[in-house]
Amino acid sequence: MIRVLDLTKRFDDFTAVDHITLTVEPGEILGFLGPNGAGKSTTVKMLTGMMQPTQGTAEIAGYDILRDPQEVKRRIGYIPESGAMYESLTPAEYLDFVASLYHLDPVLAEARFNDLLEIFGILHARDQRLSELSKGMKQKVMISSALLHGPEVLFLDEPLNGLDANAAMVVKELLKKLAAQGKTIFFCSHILEVVERICTRIIVIDRGQQIIAGTAESITRDTDSASFEDAFQRITGVRDVGEMSNDFLAALERV
C-alpha cells in the first residue's frame, strides 16, 4: 500500500511537487500521468527514498519514507525512466549483484533470473555486456532486476520503453497478474492508451499539483470529452494539436 500525505518538493522558489495527497491500495495499478515537467519523476524519487521531501510524508508498505527508508527500499521495486544500469556488467552479473543487495540466496536468485531472462527471450545474452545489448533487451534486464526480490510495491516509470510489441504485451499482462496477487503498482507513463487499458485508477498532475483523479472512463465523462486522450489534452491545457503542428511547420519555414 502507498499512502502519500501533503508531499511537497521545492527547489528554491520552484515548486516541483505541490502538496500531493493520494492512496494506492494493494491490488491497484495507479496510473500517474502528467505532461513533461509536471513532477511525476520527482514524486517517484521521493517515494523511493532517493530524494527528501520538503514537506509532507508517505508510507510505503507500512513504513514511513522519512523514518524507515531502508525498510521501504527493501519492499519496493523500481524501474527508473533513465534505465541506468552498470553497462560494463553482463545481465547475469548485474542481476546477481542486485540479488546480493537484497540478500537473496545466490542459487535461488540465479534460477529466478535465468527464468525471467528466458521468458523475455534473452537468456542467450545473459553473458554479454549490457553495453552491447539493444535498448529493449536492456529494459528487459531492468524489469527483471526490479522484480527479482518479489517486491510488495512497484514503481514503474515508463516501463515499456524500448520493448518490442510482444514483450510489451507480456509486461502489461504481468502487471495485471501482479496486481491480482495483491501487489501495489504505481505506474508512470506517457502512453495514454496503455494507462487507460491497465490502470485501475488514474491521477493526473500538472505543475506539481493533482488536477484530477478517477478511472479513465470517469475522467473522460467528467471532462465531457470524446476520449481519454481528449480529456488529458483538455485537463493539461494543451492547445489544439492541429494548430500546434501548424505553428511548428511555420517555425521550420522561417527564413
Binding site: T42, M50, M51, Q70, S100, H103
Partner: protein
C-alpha cells in the same frame, strides 16, 4: 572474521562485497585497467599490467634517488613523498568522483543500502587502486632497500608498511577535505567550489612535486644529511619513513614521535570518516542529485553567443561545444583545471631562475638553460588539453557528428584552433610580456614569440595527425588522465629538448637560418594543415564512436 568486523562497524558484509566486486569489475573492464574484449582473450588483464608497469617505471626512476640519498631516513622520506604525490594527483585527477560524483546514485539510490555501507565500498574501491599504485611505484625502490647493502628483509617490510600508510593517509586526507566541503558548502555552489578546490590542491601537489624534483636535480641528495628537528614532525612523509629508520637503529624520540603522530592522524581521519562522513554521505549525494534538478528555465531564452573567430559552421559548432562543455561538464572542467597549475608552476619556476632570462639571440646558451621549464610548459599544456578533449561521460552524444553532413576533418581542426586561440596564444602573449623585460629589443621578442607559436601549432598539428579524434567522443577511463599527464610531460620534455637545442645552436645564431626556418615553418604549417585535414577525414570515416 571479516564479516563480523564489518558487522561491528554497521557495514553490511554481503552488500559491501557485492558492491566492491561490481566496482572492480567495471574498473577492470571500462576504467583504470580497461581492455578490449579481443585483447582479453590473449591475457587476463593486460591493462592492469600496463598501468602497473607505468608506475613501476616511475619507481625505477625514483630508485636512483633512493640510491643517491645518504641515509635510510632520507631515502624513505623521498619515497614516501613520491608515493603521496602520485596518490594525491591520481585522486585529484581520477578519483574525486569517489566522493563527489552522484552518478551511480540513480542506480543504487532506491536499493536498501545504508549510507555507511555505500561510503565504505566507495572508499575501499579507491583504496584498492591507490594501494596498487603505491606498491607498484615502491616495488623497485623496496628491492633496492632489501638488497643494496646486504640483505635487509625487515627494512623492506617496513618500507611496504610505510608506503601503504602513506597511501591511506593521503587518500583519507583528501577525502576529509572533499567531504567537509560537502558539509559546509551549499549544493548549488558545490560544483564550482570543487573546481576551485581542485585548482588549489593541484597547486599544492604539483608544487610539492617540483620542490622535490628540484632537490633531486640539484644533486644535493648525496651530500644531504637530515638532522631530526621538531618541525619535521609536521611533514607527513617523515611519519612513515620513520618506520624504516626503526630497522636500522634509529629508535630515538624522533622516530617514535613520528610514527605516533602518523598513525594517530591516519586513525583519526579514518575514525572521523566512519563517525561522521558515512552517515551523512547518502544524504549529501542525494542533495547533489537534487542540485542537478533545480535548473529549470524561468525566463526569456538566452542568446547563443559565438566565440570570436569561430562564427560559422563546423568551427562554430566545435568552439561552442568546447566552451559549453567546459562551463557545464564538471569532469572536463576539473581535468583542465588540473593542468593549469602544473603549467603555471613550471612558468613560475622558469622565471624564478637566478639572474633572469637572457636574450636567445644574443646569448642563446644562457637563455635556453634558464628558460627550459617555460618551454616545457608550452609543449605539454596543449598536449594534455588535446588529450582531455577526446573523452567525456557524454561520449554517446557524438553520434551527432556521424549523422550530420558535417566535415569531421573541419571539426577536429577547429578544436585544435580553439586550443591555439584560447590557450596557446594567451600563454605566448604572457610570455612575450615577460620577455620584454629581459630581451635586448622588441623585435627579438616578436620574432621569438612568433617562432614559438609556429612550433606549438606544429606540435598540435602533428598530434591531430597522429591521434585524430572527434571532441568528447570516447568514454572516460580512470587512470588514463594521470598517465597522460606523466607521459605528456615526458614527451614534451624530449620534443622541447630537441627543438631548443636545434634553435639555440644552429638557427638563432644566424639571421639567414632564422629567416629560412620561419619560411620553412610557415610552409610546413600549411602543408600539415592540409595533410591533417585529409588524414582526419580518412580516419573519421572509420571512427564511428571510436571506443
Amino acid at each position: 572474521m571479516i564479516d563480523s568486523l564489518l558487522h561491528r562497524f554497521d557495514i553490511d558484509p554481503r552488500q559491501f562485497r557485492a558492491l566492491l566486486r561490481m566496482a572492480l569489475r567495471i574498473d577492470f573492464r571500462s576504467g583504470l585497467f580497461a581492455t578490449s574484449r579481443k585483447k582479453k582473450r590473449r591475457g587476463r588483464f593486460p591493462g592492469l599490467w600496463q598501468i602497473l608497469l607505468f608506475y613501476g617505471f616511475l619507481g625505477l626512476v625514483l630508485s636512483f634517488a633512493v640510491i643517491e640519498a645518504g641515509d635510510v631516513f632520507l631515502a624513505g622520506t623521498i619515497m614516501m613523498t613520491f608515493v603521496m604525490l602520485a596518490v594525491a594527483s591520481s585522486i585529484l585527477v581520477e578519483f574525486q568522483s569517489v566522493v563527489i560524483a552522484p552518478e551511480d546514485y540513480h542506480i543504487l539510490g532506491h536499493r536498501p543500502i545504508s549510507s555507511r555501507t555505500y561510503f565504505s565500498f566507495r572508499l575501499a574501491n579507491m583504496l584498492v587502486y591507490v594501494g596498487l599504485i603505491a606498491v607498484s611505484i615502491a616495488f623497485v625502490p623496496v628491492l633496492f632497500f632489501v638488497f643494496w647493502e646486504g640483505f635487509r628483509l625487515l627494512l623492506g617490510v617496513m618500507a611496504i608498511l610505510g608506503i601503504l600508510g602513506s597511501a591511506v593517509f593521503t587518500s583519507m586526507a583528501i577525502v576529509f577535505v572533499y567531504v567537509n566541503l560537502l558539509r559546509w558548502v551549499h549544493p548549488k555552489k558545490l560544483q564550482r567550489a570543487f573546481s576551485y578546490l581542485q585548482l588549489l590542491l593541484s597547486f599544492i601537489v604539483y608544487g610539492s612535486g617540483m620542490i622535490f624534483s628540484s632537490l633531486f636535480n640539484a644533486g644535493v641528495l648525496s651530500n644531504m644529511h637530515v638532522e631530526h628537528e621538531q618541525w619535521m614532525l609536521a611533514l607527513p612523509p617523515t611519519w612513515f619513513s620513520s618506520l624504516m629508520s626503526l630497522t636500522v637503529g634509529g629508535r630515538g624520540w624522533f622516530e617514535l614521535a613520528s610514527i605516533l603522530v602518523g598513525t594517530s592522524i591516519t586513525a583519526i581521519l579514518i575514525a572521523y570518516a566512519y563517525a561522521t562522513m558515512s552517515l551523512e554521505y547518502a544524504g549529501t549525494i542525494a542533495r547533489l542529485t537534487e542540485s542537478h534538478e533545480k535548473h529549470r528555465g524561468n525566463g526569456r531564452p538566452s542568446r547563443v553567443v559565438s566565440l570570436p573567430m569561430f562564427t560559422r559552421n563546423e568551427a562554430r559548432a566545435a568552439a561552442l561545444l568546447v566552451r559549453n562543455q567546459f562551463k557545464h561538464d564538471q569532469k572536463f572542467r576539473m581535468s583542465v583545471l588540473a593542468i593549469v597549475p602544473l603549467t603555471a608552476l613550471y612558468l613560475i619556476a622558469g622565471l624564478s631562475g637566478g639572474g633572469g632570462l637572457a636574450d636567445p639571440f644574443s646569448n642563446p646558451a644562457e637563455h635556453w638553460e634558464k628558460a627550459n621549464l617555460l618551454y616545457l610548459a608550452l609543449a605539454f599544456f596543449p598536449v594534455l588539453l588535446f588529450a582531455s578533449l577526446g573523452r567525456s561521460d557524454s561520449w554517446q552524444a557524438s553520434w551527432i557528428f556521424h549523422v550530420t553532413p558535417s566535415d569531421k576533418g573541419r571539426i577536429v581542426l577547429a578544436v585544435k584552433d580553439v586550443l591555439v586561440i584560447f590557450f596557446i596564444i594567451p600563454y605566448l602573449l604572457g610570455l612575450g610580456i615577460v620577455f620584454l623585460f629581459y630581451f635586448d629589443s622588441v623585435q627579438n621578442v616578436l620574432l621569438h614569440v612568433f617562432t614559438l607559436s609556429m612550433l606549438s601549432h606544429l606540435i598540435l598539428q602533428v598530434l591531430v595527425m597522429v591521434y585524430p579524434h572527434l571532441p568528447f567522443s570516447r568514454p572516460l577511463r580512470k587512470g588514463e588522465r594521470t598517465a597522460n599527464i606523466f607521459v605528456g610531460i615526458m614527451v614534451a620534455a624530449i620534443v622541447m629538448f630537441i627543438l631548443v637545442n636545434v634553435l639555440s645552436r644552429v638557427i638563432y645564431p644566424s639571421a639567414v637560418a632564422t629567416g629560412v626556418t620561419l619560411v620553412v615553418l610557415a610552409v610546413l604549417t600549411l602543408v600539415f594543415e592540409r595533410l591533417a585535414a585529409e588524414r582526419v577525414r580518412r580516419k573519421t570515416r572509420l571512427l564511428q564512436f571510436g571506443s
